[in-house]
Each structure stands twice: as C-alpha cells, then as structure tokens.
C-alpha cells in the first residue's frame, strides 16, 4: 500500500473538519465583513471596517484589549517563571507543583471570573479583609484599569506558565548551566546568560498563547469589565447582536481584526524563538 496515500487518508478527516468548519466560517465571515455575503445591507467594500474603526469606541476598546493582554501576559509569565525556578531543584517539588498547577488548568475561565468577582467586588472578601485592617480599597471590578479581568487571567495562566517552564527546565538546560558554573559563572550570570535564554523559546511560546487567548476572550471582561470602554471581543459581540443589520458585518469585522493581531503576534514569535535558541547554543533550529 502506498505509504504517503495512507497518511493523507488518515489525516484527511481531521484536516477537513478544521478546514471546513473553521476555515469555512472564517472565510464566510470575511466575505460578510466585505458586504459580499450574508444578511447584510453593507455595501461591497471596506465600509464595515471603516464604520467600526471610526470613532472612539474601537480605539478605546483596542487600547483596553492590548492593555489587558499585555499586562496579564507579563504578570503571568513573571510569576510562573519565578515559581518554576524556585521549585525546580527536587523531583518531588516539581511533581507536586505540576500536579497542583494542573488542577487549576481545566477550570473554565467563566468560573474563574465568578470566583474572582466574589473576591474582588466592592463587597468582596478582599474589601472585607481590607476594611478590618482599616484600609479602603478602590473599585477593582468594573474599574478603569480592568484589575479584576487581569487578575482572573493571571490567576489562570500563571500555573500554565509554571508547568511549561518546569517541563522545559527538565531538558538540556541543566547541562548548559553546569558547564557555565564549572567555567566560573556566578549564579546570577548563569541565570541571565544561560537559563533564561534557554527558556526563552518556551516562555515566548507560552506568552503568545496567553496573549492570543486573552485578546479574544469574551466571558471574563463581559462579566468583570465596565460598560465603556469595552475590550474588542465584547464590542464585537455587542455589534454582532445589535438590532440593526449592518451590525453583523461590523461584529465580524472586529472579530477578524482581533484574529489578525493574534496571528501577527504568533508570526513575530516564530522569528524570535529561532533567534533566541541560536544565541545560546550557537545552533540554528
């Protein structure tokens, strides 16, 4: 039997599922945003994109989305990497930490949002605790800086970073560190010049995943965010379900703009991760 053909036959059902159900929806959505298809009174062309990007709601939403994703990604990575470096030395510590972190991973973000809401709301546990020690907290839910939204993302993603980085630390990283230490590098130098650069591909990959996810996530800001400005996914949903017909094209247009930003981030990552590994090992992957 033809080896290649068998392979194609095996992969075809999965590929068709993704291409038809995912790619198809994406393509058809693109056509709708251009006024080419669907229930729409949008003229053919970029009218929907112009209407959407015109005005402060989009600009404010985009800035808020970028703020949330950037801060959440940065904090989650910093906390996850720090915890991984602190826990890496013993196999038992690694196993326990991985298990604990794994328990948190499958908790749906919506539940995280509900829990963080109970914790950070004006009458939440944190405010109660702060009050007993005589501190008045500012609003943390539906506040201008989206503190609760960011908190939920960091809570959920930092354990994810921890697991990925712990796994990456199990590889050849220790050997390189040993060589550097034998050559007389001090711990701080080892960390800066060996450990972190070797972890860079994993850290970058996980950053891109978190950034892309938070950029496109709806439930958390919908539940914990404020009415204005709204991050892009919430804005997209509002437009899409608006009473007027043109809203549908506009909603899809915003959703596709989010997708474009996420994909651009991923492409930037591919280049960056190659360079990062090359710098340390001298190898090109």
């Amino acid at each position: 039997m033809n080896h290649r053909r068998t392979g194609l036959l095996l992969i075809l059902p999965a590929l068709a599922t993704v291409v038809l159900l995912f790619g198809g929806g994406l393509g058809y959505g693109f056509a709708q945003s251009l006024g080419l298809a669907g229930f729409t009174d949008t003229p053919v062309g970029l009218a929907a994109y112009q209407r959407v990007t015109d005005g402060p709601a989009f600009t404010d939403g985009l800035l808020l989305s970028l703020w949330i994703s950037t801060v959440a990604t940065g904090l989650a990575v910093a906390i996850g990497v720090a915890a991984a470096l602190a826990l890496r030395r013993t196999a038992a510590g690694r196993r326990t930490a991985t298990f604990l972190a794994q328990l948190g991973l499958p908790v749906p973000h919506l539940i995280g949002a509900v829990a963080i809401g109970l914790l950070l709301a004006d009458s939440g546990l944190l405010a109660r605790a702060a009050r007993t020690v005589g501190v008045a907290l500012p609003a943390l839910v539906a506040d201008p800086h989206a503190v609760a939204v960011i908190a939920e993302y960091v809570w959920k993603e930092a354990p994810f970073v921890l697991i990925v980085v712990l796994a990456a630390l199990g590889g050849p990283v220790a050997e390189h560190e040993r060589v550097a230490a034998t050559l007389g590098a001090r711990p701080r130098q080892v960390l800066r010049h060996v450990t972190l650069p070797l972890l860079a591909p994993s850290i970058l990959a996980v950053s891109v995943l978190i950034f892309a996810f938070t950029l496109g996530a709806y439930e958390v800001p919908a539940l914990l965010g404020r009415a204005y400005p709204q991050p892009l996914p919430v804005l997209a949903y509002q437009r899409f379900t608006a009473a007027e017909l043109s809203g549908r094209a506009e909603g899809v247009a915003i959703a596709l703009l989010i997708a474009a930003i996420a994909v651009a981030a991923a492409l930037a990552y591919t280049g960056a991760s190659r360079r990062a590994v090359g710098r340390v090992t001298g190898a090109r992957r």
């Binding site: 290649r4 693109f30 930490a97 749906p108 829990a115 914790l119 809570w155 130098q189 996810f213």
Partner: protein, 296 residues
C-alpha cells in the same frame, strides 16, 4: 551567551568554592527560596479563589463587612436545583455535547496523529499550520461568520450545530496531542505483527492500541473539557436555546444578583474538570505539557 561576559568573570576552577559531588552545579538563583513555602503558595494560588465559592454557596446572609457568613443556608442550592432551575437539564446538555465532541475529536485526532507521527506527508508544514489555526484564532470569529450557514442548514439552535461548532478546536488539540503519543509508539512492532500474518486493523488493535490507551484517555478528556468550558460558541450557534452549564452560570452571575445560587452553579460546573484532572494526573504526568494549553 556572550563569551566575553563569561571570560571576564571567570576564575580558575581551583579558586571556586569546592565543587560538590561530581558535576553538581552551584545552586542557581531562586533555589534559596524555601521550597515548601513556594509549594504552599502554589496550592493557595490555585485553590484560594475557588474556596470562597464553597462558602458562598451555603449562605444566604453574608453582609458586608462580615468576614464570615452570619447564617448558613441551603437557599442557594434550592434555587440552583429547584423546580424553577434548569441546572439538571443544563448538565445533561453539557455532558451530551461534551461526550459527542470528545468521541469525534479523539477518533479524528487519533487517525491524524498517526499520520503526522509515522507518515511522510506532502505539505506537512501547511497541514501543521492549519491544525494550529484554531489554537490562535479566537473561535468566536469563526462562529460569527458561520452562524448564517448554520441558520440556513437548520443547524442553528440545535445540539448538532453546537457540537459542530466546538469540534474544530477540540480536533486540533486532540491531533496535536495524539501525534505526540504516536511518536512514542514503535512502528516496527505493527510491521512485525503484519509479517506474522495479522491484518492492518488487527495489527493496530492488538499492538498499537494498548500503547495508545493513556493518550486516548487524555485526548478525550481534553476535548470534553474544551466543550464543557465553552460559552460564546454555544451562545452564538445554540442561540440561547441550547442551554449548557456555562450559559446558565453566566446568566445567573450577570443577571440574578443571587450570589449563593451563582456559587452553587459554579461549584457544579467546576467539579468535573477538577475530578477528571485529579483522576488523570498519572496519565498527564508524562505528556508533552505544552499541550495543556488546552486548559487556557
């Protein structure tokens, strides 16, 4: 690493503090932190925000600024489980959709994973890119575009429609995971079985399948959890008619102001992911952990 940076700081080995047993490096930065503390912090980090849910669900009077509820009550549960509630129905719907997505995605992923791991494929990079798309592109962008197609095909507001909408992402993850699992199985073993006279199917079933079992369980579990967590796709394609647990939770959390009922539903929603993960912990341990991105 800049070589200059190292040479500048390097000293003869003899001057360095005595090297611990053969090849042991000095402790890297951060190792000085007390490990138990960090472990406890990790546990608190994960469980901390979920614990108040468990308290909140059993009280109906927890006025600000009390640190502890004034009165315990099952009112929240009565609300969540009572005749007015649709929680039981929502759980059935969620489990049904999740099981269908898990079965389909695992089967598709197992086949595709074998192809990726064992076969030479033309356009492999393109195939991998296509399979990664659902991981990077927010799925609701797809659902918004596809909603009209589902409407026209009569699949909107139906269980089938929601399963189809959730399937691509679950399939993509299952495929990526299963290709890793297949890569750990030796193709030579199946060939030997074939040489000894077994058919293609029998060689697969009796030689490879037993080695895949753990991977299949994890793939099915992930696919189920992707489905179990989904909110926006279900809302867009299910049109609010297909009420899953997340839809009910969101409506209660955003619309009712009944915190006890919200917490009770949240506890019901969080139990399956926690139980499944705890049960599968041993299976999960050896996996390519990056794939746990499923849990994002």
């Amino acid at each position: 690493m800049t070589e200059a940076g190292l040479t500048k700081e390097s000293r003869p080995v003899q001057e360095a503090p005595p090297v611990q047993e053969a090849g042991r490096p000095r402790r890297p930065l951060g190792a000085g932190l007390a490990r138990p503390t960090v472990l406890i912090l990790t546990g608190l980090w994960v469980a901390g925000p979920l614990l108040p849910l468990a308290v909140q669900a059993f009280t109906d009077q927890w006025f600000y600024p009390d640190l502890w509820p004034a009165r315990w009550s099952l009112a929240g549960w009565e609300q969540a489980l009572g005749p007015q509630s649709r929680l039981a129905e929502a759980v059935t719907t969620s489990v049904g959709i999740g099981a269908a997505v898990a079965a389909l995605a695992t089967a598709l992923g197992a086949a595709a994973g074998r192809a990726l791991a064992w076969h030479r494929l033309p356009g492999r990079r393109l195939i991998e890119l296509v399979l990664l798309a659902p991981v990077l592109v927010p799925p609701f962008a797809v659902a918004m575009g596809a909603q009209i197609v589902y409407l026209r095909a009569g699949l909107a507001d139906s269980l089938t429609g929601v399963v189809l909408a959730q399937l691509p992402a679950a399939t993509a993850y299952a495929t990526l995971l299963m290709s890793g699992v297949w890569a750990g199985v030796d193709p030579a073993l199946e060939r030997q079985a074939r040489t000894l006279g077994a058919g293609t199917w029998r060689a697969f079933r009796e030689v490879s399948l037993p080695q895949l079992r753990g991977g299949l369980v994890v793939a099915a579990m992930f696919a189920f959890l992707i489905s179990w967590s989904d909110y926006l796709l279900t809302l867009l394609i299910g049109g609010g008619v297909v009420t899953t647990v997340p839809l009910l939770l969101f409506a209660t959390a955003a619309g009712s102001g009944n915190q006890a009922a919200t917490a009770a539903i949240a506890l019901v929603a969080v139990a399956p992911p926690l139980l499944l993960t705890a049960l599968a912990a041993r299976q999960l341990a050896g996996r390519d952990t990056a794939l746990l991105g499923v849990g994002r």
